[in-house]
Symmetry: C2
Subunit: 199 residues, 2 copies
């Protein structure tokens, strides 16, 4: 087995997050035949690892082994410098079972007030993993640096996008056109690495 | 960057375990120029992940990014069916700070007595990860099934080898010639997968 992804290959996308699935589909631009893990009835494994790459790998591995197809998974999150990298891999969990990111963004603001930090530096990380059923896996990581802005601005994107202004820009990820975000995002940067490795 | 390992490439071996380093060197058979992470003064990162592949990846990633060289790491352990997979990723930690595997093997025997299990099924797992500095990483996993035998037999190998009899054989890994163990071990099987993926 060579580590190659042929154009048109069938890929299971191991995410149950519709926002992520949509972005991955945009980034992959019709290169592959994408199948949602949920559509195959695959369960969502617990994200028990302590790093983005570890969790992306775990999700891709589980989906590939259960489906018999090559699987792609993303694990990503927001890290805030003044909060020692929090929420990090717990980014989704800060939004609670209701996936309420308005609440999660308020939590970030409150924690910053609690620690009395003026530092607003933050970064988004995306780990992408591709796993072959019962075979090897490849993982890459992309990162974009920026600054937090409160209150949240913009209705686009998902998750913490409305409070994140990437360096060199004025708009939050929540305000940007999808095509603009896709050109610079952590997920897009990770995909550039993945493409260089596998295509 | 293509995911290829050219023969003769320099590889940092990210293990501080002399037994593992020796086995990897035997398995890699002079294909690469191997450099020990300890010889470069690289620190040993905490194994904070909850899977073999996660920990192998973490160690390879850390060594590659710190050294600027392609790094290879192994994470491996013994899983006992009647102990729900323990010691698993904690295999080395059961041996304590003194790395006393005679103690660790006694612990396995005592736990089996405590749970009153007659089932002696067990397996060794080895995850191998290759990471490019600040680039992609590839991970594979190999597994060998067998049976536990007490008391420990044989002085070869390392770790739990003296209590593990691989299926279809009568000797423990501790009794086998290195060349025999290297032909069937979890680490060798993982390497076959890695080779298929990268060479």
């Amino acid at each position: 087995m060579a580590l190659k992804l042929e154009p048109g290959a069938r890929l299971v996308v191991a995410t149950h997050n519709p926002g992520k699935a949509r972005e991955l589909a945009e980034i992959l631009e019709g290169r592959f035949e994408l199948i949602a893990a949920g559509d195959l009835g695959l369960p969502e494994p617990d994200e028990t690892e302590s790093t983005f790459v570890g969790n992306a790998l775990l999700k891709a591995r589980a989906a590939a082994d259960a489906s018999g197809l090559i699987a792609l998974a993303d694990d990503s999150g927001l890290s805030v410098r003044a909060l020692e990298g929090a929420p990090g891999i717990f980014s989704a969990r800060w939004a609670g079972p209701e996936k309420d990111f308005a609440l999660a963004m308020r939590k970030v603001e409150e924690r910053l007030e609690e620690v009395g930090a003026n530092d607003r530096a933050a970064w988004f990380t995306s780990a992408l993993a591709v796993a072959w059923p019962h075979g090897p896996a490849v993982v890459v990581e992309g990162r974009v640096d920026g600054t937090l802005a409160f209150p949240p601005r913009g209705l686009r994107g998902f998750g913490y996008d409305p409070i994140f202004v990437p360096d060199g820009h004025a708009q939050t990820f929540g305000e940007m056109e999808p095509v603009a975000k896709d050109a610079m995002s952590h997920r897009a940067l990770a995909f550039v690495k993945l493409k260089a490795a596998l295509l």
